[in-house]
């Protein structure tokens, strides 16, 4: 079968440095020009195309990249990823409405809060393996949502309204309907995230995660401090989720506990697996498709989610490793965790 991922990797590996720079710049240019393509077949029938690109597409891409560190790189099944997204969004909502801090100042605070939450959850949870970890993280996601729902001091069921937009920078004004500016801002965050993940995954931590994913016992025997690297993956994933939350809140300007249900965690997980676990480009593609598709097929109105579910079933049956699976080299070792 034609493998798009290996074809792409081949071109990349055969190119010299200047050509690689050109390819990268070209890809960035294509991504940056996406909001300009409104009015073509990409237009969504009901929702505004520009706004769909910002949320869900760009936000999904950021979250899927973060979750990919946890699931794709180190093989930890996290079903409560939405918790970190919620913590980031609530940090933005509370600090944005109650203090004079602006979005850019809150972004690092939100990331720190999410990382802290990841640490608190990770220390007891990461002693467990497999499906027990899945249910604990799932429970954590629900605890965060229900707590937000029941505590009236942070808005309760009404959520938080009137979150300020990011302040004007370089004369560019972030107004509510300036979707392009938001998209380009988020694109920069996405590029930074990709850069961070790529740097980390070729270094010691990347190799440690890979060994943990393939065989945790063997990794431990070889002297990899597995617990520490699992926590590190978890906290790093949480930080990306927190960043996505802050950005989401400063775009929608209104958050409520309904935005942070388990369905979000599951959808992001679907993005990662659908696109191709462990491969950044696959994950991005998966997030773009699954973020964009429900709005594109809005003409089906009532049957929209039904078709969406059917697409998941059919695609997983046809391509179990996702649209763009991880590199063959990374799959070379028989992977105990994946073929039980």
């Amino acid at each position: 079968m034609f493998n798009l991922r290996d074809w792409g990797a081949d071109i990349w590996e055969r190119s010299s440095r200047p050509i690689r720079v050109l390819i990268a710049l070209g890809a960035i240019a294509v991504a940056a020009s996406l909001p300009l393509l409104g009015g073509t077949f990409l237009n969504t029938p009901v929702a505004d195309y520009g706004s769909v690109l910002v949320f869900p597409v760009a936000i999904f891409v950021i979250m899927a990249l973060g979750l990919n560190i946890v699931i794709g790189k180190s093989g930890l099944l996290d079903l409560g990823y939405v918790a970190f997204f919620a913590i980031g969004a609530y940090t933005m909502g509370l600090l944005g409405t109650k203090t004079s801090l602006n979005s850019w100042e809150i972004l690092p605070i939100g990331i720190a809060m999410a990382m802290f939450a990841g640490l608190i959850l990770g220390v007891p949870a990461l002693r467990l393996r497999g499906d027990y970890l899945a249910i604990i993280t799932l429970g954590f996601g629900e605890i965060v949502r229900i707590t937000a729902l029941n505590l009236n001091s942070i808005g309760g069921t009404n959520g938080i309204v009137g979150i300020p937009t990011p302040p004007t920078i370089f004369g560019l004004e972030y107004t509510f309907d300036n979707h392009r500016l938001y998209f380009w801002t988020f694109l920069i965050i996405i590029l930074l995230t990709i850069w961070m993940i790529r740097r980390l995954s070729i270094r010691r931590s990347g190799r440690a995660w890979e060994s943990i994913r393939q065989d945790e016992d063997a990794a431990e025997l070889m002297g990899v401090p597995t617990f520490r690297y699992k926590i590190w993956a978890f906290v790093l994933g949480a930080s990306v989720g927190g960043a996505a939350g802050v950005l989401y809140a400063s775009k929608t300007l209104f958050i409520s506990p309904d935005n942070f249900t388990l369905q979000v965690s599951i959808l992001i997980l679907a993005c990662v697996v659908f696109g191709g676990m462990g491969n950044i480009w696959g994950v991005i593609l998966g997030a773009i498709i699954l973020g964009y598709l429900p709005d594109r097929i809005r003409f089906l109105s009532d049957a929209r989610l039904l078709v969406f579910g059917a697409v998941l079933v059919i695609m997983m049956n046809l391509r179990p490793d996702g649209i763009l699976p991880r590199k063959k080299r990374e799959k070379a070792l028989p992977d105990k965790s994946q073929h039980e």
Binding site: I136, A310, D321, S337
Partner: protein, 316 residues
């Protein structure tokens, strides 16, 4: 509040037990499949939801009950309830087998990674829930009242309401029946063999596809029975009830030790009681938080659940 709790303790316990048996039966659906495939069957919550609808269909369309009908009594009531139970179990059991064929079979025979079936089951669960949402127009569907909820008597000050008694007694019967099935029959033996060691079981001539279908069928039957009990207790359902109960039942299965039938039993009962007591003290809005916190604490000290086998070596 404490004095109040003492007064109500017995009644709360009865209510908690009947909720617990609903959890036990759904948890059996999760735990059977997990024992054989080592996979969370995410669509089991939807299997349960279809079971609740099957009961309503039997009551409404087979026995022609309407909201104005007189509740049935005596032998006729027993007859109707029996057919509701059978209807729900069949519906859920067959749906569960169908689910395995569509979402799992191909991937399993290909030997895919472990997350692909999870996502395809999630896809199926979306399809099933959405299909029902469209059919019911996103509304709650109430069940006509088939029986009067009489209080049969009291036991240590607990009101024994008839629906709770039926649920506890028949839940117990179903559970004992299932354990006997798994212990004594040929298929039960094959299921245990596959869950111990799939490769060895295959070498011994176990037909894997048949055993997996059988497991899904039995798990679905139990989950369907839970759907009937739910209708008996709460008398209404909707396309989205599966989610909440499914999560709770899965938690129960984990609490007891997943993959273990006894674990589902004790886990389900413990969760039902815990939830009922927690709602009394903290209000219903905090019950899910209490449940998950207890789960975290239990897993911290007993990482395999209370009755879990050595499953620490199993990974996602």
């Amino acid at each position: 509040m404490l004095a109040n709790f003492q007064n109500q303790f017995a009644s709360l316990t009865v209510g908690g037990l009947s909720l617990g048996f609903i959890y036990v039966l759904i948890a059996l659906g999760y735990t059977m499949v997990y024992g054989v495939l080592r996979m969370i069957n995410f669509a089991n919550s939807e299997v349960f939801m279809y079971g609740t609808f099957a009961s309503i269909i039997v009551i409404r369309d087979v026995f022609n009950f309407t909201q104005q009908s007189e509740p049935a009594t005596g032998f006729r009531l027993a007859y109707i309830l029996f057919f509701c139970l059978i209807g729900s179990m069949l519906m859920s059991g067959l749906l569960s087998v169908f689910l395995e064929l569509v979402a799992y079979r191909r991937l399993r025979n290909k030997g895919s990674n472990k997350l692909a079936p999870l996502i395809s089951a999630i896809g199926m669960s979306i399809v099933l829930a959405e299909f029902m949402r469209i059919l019911t127009d996103s509304r709650y569907v109430g069940s006509p009242r088939v029986m009067e909820k009489k209080v049969l008597g009291s036991f240590f000050g607990a009101e024994l309401r008839i629906d709770n008694v039926i649920i506890v007694v028949s839940g117990l019967i179903l559970f004992v029946g299932l354990s006997q099935f798994v212990d004594k029959t040929r298929l039960g033996k094959a299921i245990r063999a596959v869950s111990m060691n799939e490769d060895a079981a295959k070498l011994m001539g176990v037909n894997l596809n048949f055993v997996v279908s059988g497991t899904f069928l039995v798990g679905g039957l139990m989950t369907g029975a839970a759907g009937f009990f739910y209708i008996l207790k709460y008398e209404n359902t909707s396309f989205n009830i599966g989610f909440e109960l499914g999560i709770a039942a899965f938690t129960a299965a984990i609490l007891g030790g997943i993959g273990n039938i006894k674990g589902a039993f004790y886990g389900g009962l413990a969760l039902g009681l815990l939830e009922t007591y927690a709602s009394f003290f903290l209000g219903t809005q905090w019950k899910a938080v209490t449940v998950f916190l207890v789960l975290v604490v239990v897993l911290y000290f007993r990482p395999n659940g209370v009755f879990g086998e050595a499953i620490t070596q199993t990974r996602a």
